[in-house]
Every structure is written in structure tokens, then in C-alpha cells.
């Protein structure tokens, strides 16, 4: 990304206050939400690319439930970022959970173990990366929390435990956590806790929705970014909400305010 003109998403993500770059180094929790009609996977790709910029030394731990490595590699290559090379350079760790965590169906114990091993792997990776010299942010990305729930056989308690563990990594190592989930799944009351907790822990919530007027070829949907800002300023809440349209292309995404696209 040439930083000459940050796009609307970047602008919305920047925290208020001076030296925003410095603050950003501290870990943040980003929750991306989408629905059946509009996928928000491109936001993940955006974060992935931003973290793996050549001039930084940030590290991404990617936990894939939805798509295999080849899928992401191809997409990111079109965006100008070679994941295979980054993987070799120890900046990108890809944990393929598509089949790997194939749960056996004989009770809940195995499930917990599966998530525990996964967390163990993440923690180990984070420890190793943070022990290396140089200042770097480690970003943990989960590409589909709802599929993780399926892998845990619907035990939202285990899921919440897992997410809280990941959250502690933020405090301990300054990790960022980026998760993608599907908002429309959580419409009934007994499934709500997971998404509510996620949203509560989040510093930034990004929602992708289809246009109310239906499908259009030049506007793919709208993005609502809720940036809760830094919690250090007591008193006034400096959370801000931005709302804009987007159009996804192969190598980047256009963001624009409604009606401003020529």
C-alpha cells in the first residue's frame, strides 16, 4: 500500500490522537462481521497485506478454517504480496484447520483438546516470534470463527475460553487479534453470547452489509467501521463510526462515500 493517500478504511482504522502510528503498535482486537449476501473476507486480505508490508517486520499467525493456503496465496499475490516467500521468511505462519482438527464424535473431551492444542501452537509461535529481536507486532487472524465453533461442536464455552486466551496474548505480548465472523448466524438469543463478547472485547468492529437496494455491479456493499478509540482518555467517549461503500477488485478495494464515485 503506498501510504500517500490512505483509503477510507485505513482512515477509519487510525486511532485518534497524536502519534497514531505508535499507538497502533500496541495490539488491537478487530472483529469483522459479514453476512451471507456480502462476504467481508477482503477485509482480512487487507489486514494480511498491511501486516506483511516489506518495510515492517510484523508477523501474522493465520488460523484458516474457511480456505486452504492456495486460495489466500493466489489472492494476496494479486495484491502484491507473496505469502509463500513470507512463510519462508518466518513472517507468516499458516495453520490449516480445514481438516486438521477433524473432531471425533465421541464426546466433548476431544473437542476441548483440539482447541487446546491449537491454542498451544499459537502461544508457542507467539512466544518464539516475540523473543526475536526487533520491535514487531504479531497479528493473530482467524478467518472464520463460526467454523471454529463447528469444529468445537457448538460448545460456545470452549470457544469463549479460547478467545479469552487469545485475548490474554494481547496483554502479554501486545498481539493484535483479527477475527471474521458471520453476524447473521447469531440472531437467536441462545447463540448471542459469543458475538456479544467478541464485540465487547473488540477495539474495532467492521461490519459488511449488502446495499439495501439490492445487488449492484459497481457497489458491492457497505462497510461500517466502529472504532472505539483508545481507552486512555477517560470521560468523553471518542468512538467514531464511519460508513462507506466499497467495491472489491482483484488487486485492491475501492472505498468511497455513497454517491461520490464517478
Amino acid at each position: 500500500m503506498d501510504n500517500s493517500r490512505p483509503n477510507l478504511l485505513e482512515e477509519a482504522l487510525v486511532e485518534d490522537g497524536i502519534g497514531s502510528v505508535k499507538i497502533q503498535k500496541r495490539g488491537r482486537v478487530v472483529v469483522v462481521e459479514d453476512c451471507v449476501e456480502t462476504s467481508a473476507a477482503f477485509v482480512l486480505h487487507h489486514f494480511l497485506k498491511r501486516s506483511l508490508q516489506p518495510d515492517s517486520s510484523d508477523v501474522v499467525v493465520f488460523i484458516a478454517f474457511a480456505h486452504p493456503f492456495s486460495h489466500y496465496e493466489r489472492i494476496l499475490r494479486k495484491m502484491g504480496c507473496n505469502l509463500a516467500v513470507q512463510r519462508k521468511n518466518q513472517r507468516f505462519l499458516f495453520l490449516d484447520m480445514l481438516i486438521l482438527e477433524c473432531p471425533d464424535r465421541n464426546g466433548g473431551e476431544a473437542k476441548e483438546d483440539g482447541l487446546l492444542t491449537l491454542y498451544g501452537e499459537i502461544e508457542k509461535a507467539v512466544e518464539i516470534y516475540s523473543s526475536l529481536e526487533g520491535s514487531r507486532t504479531i497479528t493473530i487472524m482467524i478467518d472464520d470463527v463460526s467454523l471454529m465453533e463447528v469444529a468445537a461442536n457448538g460448545s460456545s464455552n470452549h470457544m469463549l475460553d479460547f478467545l479469552h486466551y487469545c485475548y490474554t496474548l494481547k496483554a502479554k505480548y501486545g498481539c493484535s487479534l483479527v477475527t471474521l465472523n458471520h453476524k447473521d448466524i447469531y440472531s437467536s438469543a441462545n447463540t448471542l453470547p459469543l458475538i456479544l463478547q467478541l464485540e465487547y472485547l473488540a477495539d474495532v468492529i467492521i461490519k459488511a452489509e449488502p446495499l439495501a437496494t439490492g445487488l449492484a455491479s459497481d457497489v458491492h456493499g457497505q462497510l461500517t467501521v466502529l472504532n472505539k478509540g483508545s481507552a486512555c482518555d477517560l470521560g468523553s467517549s471518542n468512538s467514531k463510526v464511519r460508513n462507506f461503500h466499497f467495491r472489491v477488485k482483484e488487486n485492491n478495494v475501492d472505498y468511497f462515500y455513497p454517491g461520490t464515485q464517478t
Binding site: V36, F42, I75, I99, R105, S146, L147, G154, A216
Partner: protein, 361 residues
Amino acid sequence: MASSRPRGSSFSRNISSAATSQIPGVKLGPNGTSFLSSGIPDLDQILGGGFTLGSLVMVMEDPEAPHHMLLLRNFMSQGLVHKQPLLYASPERDPRGFLGTLPSPMASKDEKPHERPAEQDSNLRIAWQYKKYLGEQNSEVQRGGKAEYCNDFDVRKPLERHFYSGQRVDCISLRDSPNLVPLLERCAAFSSQISKSDGNITCAGRIAIQSLCSPQCDFSDKDWDMLSFIRTLKGMIRSSGAVAVISFPPSLVSPTFLKRWQHLADTLISVKAIPDEDKELAKLLTGYQDMLGLLSVHKVARINTQVPAILEATTFSIKLRKRRALILECLNQAPVDGSSGSSYGTSSSCSGSSKTGNLDF
């Protein structure tokens, strides 16, 4: 066999891609994906080439009408015609019996002249812009030499026995088992058979699962088990050269789980029957009499790309051409009542249907 050839050529990209397209019934698509035909030429066109290899297609059934069976039948027949391995699971006691109801491809002798009648059709109804448009597209497909990629199927003629007797056709009844483990094992065995060897697909396979959550199955109340099965199946076929089509009655899945199912699907299609004597709908849509039902495309598989597919239309009418071949057409609003257009509309569609009647009987 053709399947041994691509294995030998591992050195050149050009040759390997040529070899891939030599696999019967597989077409190369954008972003390094390949397509399998759905067995309905129009549906292939709508989806941009067919079902993406390695994708999971979910069909939401109509609770009252078996329209999903039309899709499944054509999908399976097309695979058998291409000699692709097939795995079929259904809640019926005797799933193999279903193979006897598969439609047979129209003979090539039949197929050549059908081009001309189609043109005549469009000439006759030339006043309808969309007809012209569709006719052009059809001929384009045929000119592209993809005639054998996707056959037209005659829904009235059963598939000849030799198509499915000698081949790798696996049938499972979902009724016998208390859980999904046996089905998953069969799927795993199936997809390991046809798995890609270092990116080169040697053979494409089709998995068709009918009415996954129907109440005849013992596991139909285990929501999480079914989700987990779909997820695992999706992971399995993604790394192999197979397409899985699962049909399910959405009314039997609770709303939140329905959303989960929909998210799991790479390609999501729903079919709906149309009520026989819906006067209002008949007034709204032209060609209402010929319609079998409606088909909506909710999601198109996006593998290796982040750009969403925006279709020109998402709902299509299912019709039978000459009472044989399944076709999909864009919906067209009938001219508003009261103008001279309405009488024109009825006369035209009358002449159309009477003409097809003449041809067939």
C-alpha cells in the same frame, strides 16, 4: 485411459493445462480453477462456466415439490456421461434405484438439428428481446466446441444402463445409519481416490447428497453433527477434484443453523415450485404456463479470488424445452394490463406453446 496421460507430463505448464482440459467434462476457468458442468447448459452459463471443482454446492429444496431432483439428476447424469466417479447418498431405502430415473443425453444426431429449431423459435418470438439474446448465447456455447462439456438431457428418456453399471458408482442410503460417520468415511474414501496429485487433477468426481437433513435420517436432529459433516466434507473436496452437491429442505433446519449452512456453501441455489393457478403471478410474468418453477442463485463459488460475482439476475424460471430439455430463463415481466401489449403477449405465448405441441405430438 486418459487419466494416465496427465500424470506423465509433469514438466511443462502448457502441456499440463492442455492435459487438464483433456479430462472429459472439465473446463479451465479463471484464477486457476476448473469447472464441471452442472448438466444444465443454462445453469453453467449463469454460474460463469459451471460448478467450480473443489466447491460445495447447496441446493435449498422446495418443501412441496421435487424440483431439486431435476438439478441432482442432471448433475449425476452429466458425470456418468463423462465417466466420472459418482457418489450418491439419499434417505431412500434403495438409492441405486434412483439411477434408473436419470435422464439420458440427447443423441448427437438429435443435438445438431436442435440448433435450427431453436433459431426458428427465436425468429418466431423475435418481438421478445430476451429470446434473441438467449439464442445468441446458446449458439455461442455450441460454437465454442463445448458441446461435449455439457450435454442436453432428455428428461423423459432414462439413462442407458451401461452408463452406470460398469463405472465407479457408489450409492449409500442415509436411512440405515444412526450417525454420519459411515457417510463421511465413504466420502473420504471417494475423495482420496480422485485427489489431485500436486495440483494436477487426473480425474473429476461428483458427490450428490439428497435431502441431507430429512426426518427419515436418524441424525436429522443433531444439528452440530450435520454442520461438522458438511464442514469436513467441504475441507475434503477442496483439496480433491470433486464437486459435492447437497440438497436440503431449509424449513427443517432452524433459522440460525440455516444461516450456518448457507455460509458453508460455496455455491448456494434455491428452487421453488410455482403454484398452479396463481392468477396474479400469471399476469405478472410472461410464459407463466410453461414454467416448472423458479431457481434462485444466492451465492456463487469464489475460489482463489476475493471479487464477488454479481449476476445480472438472480432468479430464473425453470422450463422444459420441447418437454425434454431443462432450460433456465430470465424472468420477464408481462406488459401491463390494459394496453394493447397484453393481448399481444398472450397471443405470442399461445403460438409458442402450440408450436412445440405440434412438434412433439
